[in-house]
Amino acid sequence: GCDEAGGQIDNLVVAQGSDADSLDPHATNDQPSSRVKKQIYETLITQDENMELQPGLAESWEQIDELTFEFKLKEGVLFHNGEELKASDVEFTLLRALESAHVGHIVGAIDPDGIEVIDDYTIRIATSEPFAPLLAHLAHTATSILNEKAVTEAGEDYFRNPVGTGPYKFSSWEMGNEIELVRFDDYHGEPAHIPMITFRNIQEDGNRTIELETGEVHIAYDILPQDINRIEEHENLTLLRDLNFSTVYLGFNCEKEPFDDVRVRQAINYAIDVESIIDAVMEGSGEVATGPIGPEVWAANMDLDPYGYDVEKAKELLADAGYEDGFSTTLWTNDNQLRQDIATIVEEQLLEVGIEIDIEVLEFGAYLEATADGEHDMFILGWVTVTGDPDYGLYSLFHSEEFGEAGNRTFYANDRVDELLDKARRSAEPDVREAAYMEAQEIIRDEAPWLFLNTGEDRTGLRSDIRGFVNHPAGHHALWTVYVEEDE
């Protein structure tokens, strides 16, 4: 219950749209799991809401050479099982992460032989080649530090016996339904305010709002755009809206006719009124995207010119490309309501310039396979730059070595872009990197392998008396700072 008039509550109920898959940071990398793991585990480095790097379990760090960083660990940090955090745990964690198929890519740059424990509280980590985003990657929940003993003891069942150093420790899990965490009293930092957290799985988006209204939950994640007004106008509720790292885009299969012609891609960019789509589908939530990465991501190019809605120009370009009578093609999406809605409007708007579209809605699994294999023509997808570093948001999506499954499902290839992305990845100089990314984004905008749709936002609904909650752009929000305002 949460109708206790003011005062502290003893159980914070948080609703999200899906249950966690696993509480082993190396077993999965899905949002619902990360949101729970965030409370249990800590990383060497953290990023605050502004994506500034802050000390985590590592008190300090320094770059030793082009490839190597040295980290100094905080002393006296206890795991939930009573063990003290040692550098060996960090080594163990990173090696284990490297083995993992699920999160391997996040630590992929690290050279397994380059991890060196200097003493109990000092560790060096080297990459196999220069990798500028390493620190950002080490702030990702996937690199949460585990306790070697706990992992070995639990074996296969570690995923539901997680042991971290975070402010909350795992208590119980009713699979598919809810997870309970309790405050860790030996936490090395500022202890959490609320003694217990319950993560409830409420699948139906609308129901989360209803439950928030009826007071069954205190915090509800991923509020439907349709419910924005309702919550904002509700006297007992607050809605937090903040842009996040996600971008939704409409991609063209650049290897297939007619999308191998840049004019066709540009024409479609002109032919679609993105703003109206965002309004209709998302009630105007988020922002119309102007480039491949959103403003929250570092080095996002905010000066790109939007194409704008210009049917005449679109027709011209099509005529230029030899399609004055338009053509028929397909638009692929998976069974995600948002994407389907976008497709519905795109279809209608493209009719205007003579392009007839069949919408192919595939089930997620089939969709991933088909788009990876290049069976598609146009498609709608999204991307989250989880690390907040542009490398993550550009490299695998536009580099010609990352075709298909790896992320580049448009099969877009541009030598200059490849070169720029490689350079930025290697360089340790933020200025050099920024310049490279800016140019790459410009080329991508002009060559239009994507039609940029929108930058997503996190919408979290709160009971009004909940304080201390901040949306984190990566989507997993800290809960130990949350408290309930005393009634005056």
């Binding site: 609308g206 809605d341 519905t344 192919e360 809605v361 595939l362 089930e363 089939a366």
Partner: protein, 300 residues
């Protein structure tokens, strides 16, 4: 044969002319037409079919025409069922939706009847090992819950009208196989089948001419009710997001979409919901009526 007794001399209603050839179906029709509920059902279904055929004439606009300026408008003179989240006319979409529901219902059931009927007929007529194998197969199919089977099949084949129809159809194959098998088993030993064999009819003729026509009654009844179920299942699949191609107006998909708007725009979910309900209602009425008409034993 001078002493021949002609029983027809005693008949009071002799009119000399040969009777019109009106088979059992005429009787069925006569009985059906006396059943008010069944007539209501028939009218509903008739109206539905009419709507489906003349959808372009009935619907004020095309089902996909959008008007993003006028989204989620409540019912008005212009759009009597209001508009949806794309500003499309819900009435038009409901009208066009009848086409899909009818197609799904009839094709899925048709598929199930053909496949199930064939399996059932073979199973019943030949019995023995063939029967055993087929019926165990049906048991297996039955043991997999229908909607889950449909989901799995839809996932395997991909969404789309045809696949939905197959998915829904396969799930009800065992039912028809069982019905037909039971009928065939009971008919196989009827004396008229034996009589046909006695005058030299072969298996094929016996199955086609003597057995199948007599299985028709339970199949028709089950079929009518099955169409209702198929429409519901298809709507359920759409509700789960495994339905029909966009932007086709399947009622279940409309409902599914409308549920996000249910609190502000009740009309978006009421009308497709009512359309489903009325259709199923009509089919059930008709099916019940047919059952009574086809099986005079059941008459009150």
């Amino acid at each position: 044969m001078s002493t021949q007794i002609n029983p027809d001399k005693g008949k009071t209603n002799i009119n000399g002319k040969p009777k019109k050839k009106r088979g059992q179906w005429y009787e069925v029709w006569k009985r059906l037409s006396k059943n008010k509920a069944a007539i209501v059902g028939a009218i509903i279904i008739g109206a539905l079919i009419f709507t489906a055929i003349f959808a372009p004439l009935i619907a004020p606009q095309h089902y996909r025409t959008q008007d993003l300026e006028n989204r989620q408008q409540p019912p008005s003179r212009e759009h009597i069922f209001g508009t949806d989240n794309f500003g499309r006319c819900i009435f038009s979409r409901v009208v066009y939706g009848s086409r899909i529901s009818i197609q799904v219902g009839f094709v899925a059931v048709g598929f199930a009847i053909v496949v199930g009927g064939l399996l059932g007929a073979i199973s019943g007529y030949y019995s023995g090992h063939v029967d055993n194998v087929i019926m165990r197969l049906m048991d297996i199919l039955l043991a997999i819950p229908g909607i889950l089977l449909a989901i799995a099949i839809a996932a395997a084949l991909g969404p789309g009208l045809v696949n939905v129809m197959i998915a829904v159809g396969i799930g009800s194959v065992p039912r028809y196989a069982r019905i037909v098998r039971a009928s065939v088993l009971s008919l196989r030993d009827q004396e008229f089948v034996e009589a046909a064999r006695a005058v030299g009819a072969n298996d094929l003729r016996i199955i086609i001419k003597h057995i199948l026509p007599n299985c028709l009654a339970p199949i028709i009844v089950q079929g009518t009710l099955g169409v209702a179920e198929a429409i519901l299942s298809a709507a359920g699949l759409s509700f789960l997001g495994l339905g029909i191609e966009l932007p086709k107006p399947e009622w279940g998909a409309m409902l599914s979409e409308a549920r996000h708007y249910i609190r502000d725009s009740w009309h978006m979910s009421i009308f497709p919901g009512l359309a489903i309900m009325v259709t199923i209602f009509g089919l059930n009425l008709l099916g019940d009526g047919l059952r009574d008409a086809l099986d005079p034993r059941l008459k009150g």
